[in-house]
Subunit: 160 residues, 2 copies
DNA sequence: AACTCTTACCCTCACGTATGGGTTAAATGT
DNA sequence: ACATTTAACCCATACGTGAGGGTAAGAGTT
């Protein structure tokens, strides 16, 4: 946008990609991102395609690849262009990640249910608030109400 | 199991709760877990209910509460037994977490779709492998195939 | 003797934050 | 036309964070 011509400075790249300057420095340290050149004063200058590169890194991070894993991933692809199993490797990695993701989603769904159960339980508490003062209500809600039915997320509050 | 009577040592507590000794030490440093007493030789001795406490900590961690957040949570509940809004606070925290969780699940679902799309794309690649040698296929699969349709998770591989 | 526990220290990852200075581009002054 | 100032930007370096993992030397327990 600002640079109609060719290059971006790190701040622009940061804004366009949604990352911080610090993060981009780190990516360079780890060999994930290189400026096409530097100014005389050592300012980094990036090709516009760096935005896509950084966004790609972000995508893989969302997929919970570590930065070093992303680095290995790049190495694999760059150095094994001639190997017959390059794509097979990528496939394997993605398939493994897909399984992880499905498991993570299942865990999140369980957590959601736990949270809802806890909120329902606390709703029950609120209805007994008018009956006695709030000190007793705390006792009632945290310690009472038949301990077995207490949601897991509230079960640790009694024994300090 | 081993201690029929009263107390657990840290290793037993670790085994029963599925955490490491190191983690339990950390919880103590942060004020989340206290031994009922120590032996003359400073070995920590825990009440059996500590197992539930540790499991509760784990549950909240699964809900992506940080340990310091859990600490604040405990403070809130312990120090505000007399305050009328103690339960309201707990509710608020849980409701916020529920929203976060739903958002996280949505993100995971998007990620799952991305992964599936990438795998489908790679399947397409594999079908063109017999046509030419693997070097060219790598070029084809990573750089070719109409760039716009390339899944996001594969889009960063061309511009090194 | 064999096992468990203690404190203490360093390692990891993906950055955040702080320091103290250098660079660049634009606006102003002469 | 050239010089200076200014604001914004950037540099390298180093230390801090969270939630532990790992290891070691020594001391306690059975």
């Amino acid at each position: 946008m600002v640079n109609l011509g060719k290059v971006l400075r790190i701040g622009e790249l940061a804004r366009l990609s949604g990352k911080t300057v610090r993060a981009l420095h780190l990516y360079e340290e780890l060999g994930l991102l290189l400026p096409v050149q530097r100014t005389r004063g050592r300012f980094r200058l990036y090709h516009p395609s760096a935005v896509a590169r950084v966004e790609w890194i972000g995508k893989l991070q969302d997929a919970s690849f570590s930065l070093t894993a992303i680095r290995e991933f790049l190495d694999d692809v760059e150095q094994e262009r001639a190997a017959p199993d390059a794509m097979a490797r990528v496939r394997a990695v993605f398939e493994a990640k897909l399984h992880e993701t499905r498991e993570a989603r299942t865990r999140l769904e369980k957590l959601e249910a736990d949270l809802v159960a806890s909120l329902v339980y606390l709703d029950g508490c609120r209805s007994c608030q008018p009956v006695h003062d709030s000190h007793e209500c705390s006792e009632c809600c945290i310690n009472g109400h038949e301990p077995q039915t207490q949601p897991l997320l509230l079960a640790g509050l009694h024994s300090s």
